[in-house]
């Protein structure tokens, strides 16, 4: 065949006919009522996390013994705690801690789980069987017991916390990715690219990963509340974020101790846990509706 010399002007991605799916998805998400509210709340949480030093009115770890256990006032909107620290500032800084743990833990879990899922789904056979067994064994461990055991060995720290989250969440990603790969590998376009001589890694990158993004994004949004729960739970038990760093869980634990003298402490620490959990859950469900091609909102 003669070499192709004709030139065709290739336009940059034109939104007129082929908008990037991420934009289409975002537009649909914002048209989803619960999705819109959840998206705004999550954006607010992210802003709190990123701009805590500028938003927070006080230093979150500065102790002021004279103003201990103050109720909400104009100076301290959410009052002060047992050491006189400003609760609002601690809540704002706690957002950063919570999201940092949630995001890095979830991403680590995703990386481990998705990689093993692709390996398992493509190799099948004994490798897949061994991974499945490992995954089921991990899932059968009671999470808090497992976490406490790990903390007992390695000591409480941010890194330990992230590692615990990564290992306890990875099996979920492994399951989803592996099953998705099993479905995808029987698709014609995978066979077609095999018949064009594509290697397995090439097929994984060009065909599997783009098809896996949708379910993974939903899973991440659904998992983040659980991870925030784990962080708060471990911090509540004193095994997570260590004082004086602000964490919703440890603040809740402090507030619990003084619930008769100063109930505002427990309420101020509990509300952000509830709000963020609900927001991420709704965001996940909205994303699932939006990204599911079979849903009624299918094509926008």
């Amino acid at each position: 065949m003669a070499p192709i010399t004709d030139t065709v002007a290739v336009a940059p991605p034109a939104n007129r006919t082929g908008a990037h799916p991420a934009w289409v998805g975002l537009r649909r998400l914002l048209a989803h009522p619960a999705g819109l509210v959840a998206f705004i709340v999550v954006l607010g949480l992210v802003a709190c996390a990123l701009f805590a030093p500028w938003i927070a009115p006080y230093d979150p770890v500065k102790i002021a013994p004279r103003i201990r256990f103050q109720g909400p006032s104009w100076e301290h909107w959410l009052g002060t705690d047992q050491l006189g620290r400003d609760v609002l500032s601690r809540v704002i800084y706690g957002t950063g801690v919570a999201l940092k743990v949630a995001l890095s833990g979830t991403l680590a879990a995703l990386l481990i789980g998705a990689t093993l899922g692709i390996v398992g789904g493509l190799s099948r056979g004994s490798v897949d069987g061994a991974l499945l067994l490992l995954c089921d064994a991990m899932r059968s461990l009671p999470l808090i017991l497992f976490a406490l055991a790990i903390v007992a060995i390695y000591g409480p720290s941010l890194a330990t916390l992230i590692a615990i989250i990564a290992f306890s969440m990875a099996p979920g990603y492994f399951r989803v990715v592996r099953n998705q790969v099993l479905v995808l590998r029987s698709m014609d376009f995978v066979a077609a690219s095999q018949s064009m001589g594509a290697s397995l890694p090439r097929i994984a990158l060009t065909h599997l990963v783009p098809n896996l993004l949708g379910p993974i994004i939903v899973l991440i949004a659904m998992d983040i509340p659980a991870v925030i729960g784990i962080e708060s739970g471990l911090s509540f038990l004193g095994q997570g974020i260590q004082p004086p760093d602000p964490s919703w869980g440890s603040m809740l634990s402090d507030g619990y101790s003084f619930i008769r003298q100063a109930p505002h402490l427990a309420i101020a620490a509990g509300l952000p846990v509830i709000v963020s959990t609900v927001a991420f859950t709704f965001l996940g469900e909205a994303l699932r509706d939006v990204l599911d091609p079979k849903s009624s909102r299918g094509r926008g």
């Binding site: 192709i4 004709d6 290739v10 034109a14 006919t17 082929g18 376009f189």
Partner: protein, 321 residues
């Protein structure tokens, strides 16, 4: 004339749960440069196995005997790595269903670039430009827009054109089209057949068209090979085979082509009976149980492929009348 594909006494055996299953037996067939071969047979005739064997994409449970020579190289004496290098360089495929053959979440342009992964010394923009030019050649208007679109934005006929463009991009020596029109409606089918006929010049070798539609064979192919229950029963130039079918099975298949029915009828002709299972083959002719012209001898003696006119036929009525 040199043969692009030369199948010599090719047999394919699958390891079944109850012993080996000989799905294809003793097929000898040569495909010359520049010709289109129609591989015809009903379900279970072994045509898909044969095509997979040409691509060296049979499952691990299958074993191939005989030789498959692609442009002078014995496919099964090469290593797995070299065979994979041949796919996408010298062999390309167009699959049956254009609705599933393209990845739904990847842009057409990206997929067409990806099809060219085996071509050396080309940058991504060059590959994209080639893809656009090829889309234009296969009759797609406004290729620049199409490259940015996703498969669901295209109709079935357009998608099959994209798939054909993808296969042609690598200038294959062997293009295998596995029932490329089965999933399309009649009008689109005609267009795709026209397209393959127009594009045959782009293939620096041969095209194998797998089909069970004799009408498609007549419109598109130069040669035809009729498979029945894993054996070649008749092969030859299309004019000869379609006008002077010698094997009763070929005749029966032609009788089933609705386009050849002259008098209107409410009855669609079929070939009575079923294909014998490869694990329980009859002693004599494999078609004897369904044959209209069966002789007593047919149940005992296995007919061999022998020359008859320009064709080769495996029938006792032809070889030993």
């Amino acid at each position: 004339m040199t043969a692009i594909v030369d199948l010599r006494d090719v047999s394919i055996t699958y390891a079944g749960a109850h012993g080996p299953v000989p799905a294809v037996r003793g097929v000898t067939l040569a495909l010359e440069r520049g010709r289109i071969l129609g591989l015809v047979g009903e379900s279970g005739s072994g045509k898909s196995s044969l095509v997979s064997a040409m691509l060296a994409l049979l499952p691990k449970s299958a074993s191939v005997q005989g030789r498959i020579v692609l442009d002078g190289r014995d496919l099964y004496s090469l290593g797995e790595h070299e065979r994979r290098a041949l796919r996408g360089r010298e062999m390309a495929t167009v699959s049956q269903d254009p609705f599933t053959a393209l990845n739904p979440v990847v842009r057409i342009g990206t997929q067409l670039v990806e099809f060219q992964h085996a071509l050396p010394n080309l940058t991504k923009p060059e590959k994209l430009r080639r893809a656009g030019a090829m889309l234009e050649r296969v009759g797609i208007a406004d290729p620049a827009t199409r490259l940015n679109q996703y498969p669901h934005q295209l109709s079935g006929g357009l998608r099959q054109r994209v798939a054909i463009a993808g296969a042609l991009l690598v200038s294959p020596k062997l293009l295998i089209a596995d029932e490329p029109t089965t999933a399309l409606d009649a009008t689109t089918e005609m267009e795709v057949i026209e397209l393959i006929r127009d594009m045959r010049g782009e293939v620096d070798g041969s095209i194998v068209l797998v089909t069970h539609d004799m009408g498609v064979v007549g419109r598109l192919c130069d040669d035809v090979a009729v498979l029945y229950a894993g054996e070649l029963v008749e092969s030859g130039p299309v004019d000869d085979v379609l006008n002077r079918p010698r094997h009763p099975y070929t005749r029966a298949l032609l009788a089933c082509d609705p386009a050849r029915i002259d008098t209107p009828s409410r009855h669609l002709p079929t070939v009575p009976g079923t294909v014998p299972s490869p694990t329980a083959l009859p002693a004599g002719c494999i078609f004897a149980a369904r044959c209209q012209d069966v002789m007593a001898l047919c149940h005992e003696v296995k007919p061999l492929l022998s020359a008859a006119g320009a064709s080769r036929v495996a029938c006792l009525r032809v070889s030993a009348p």
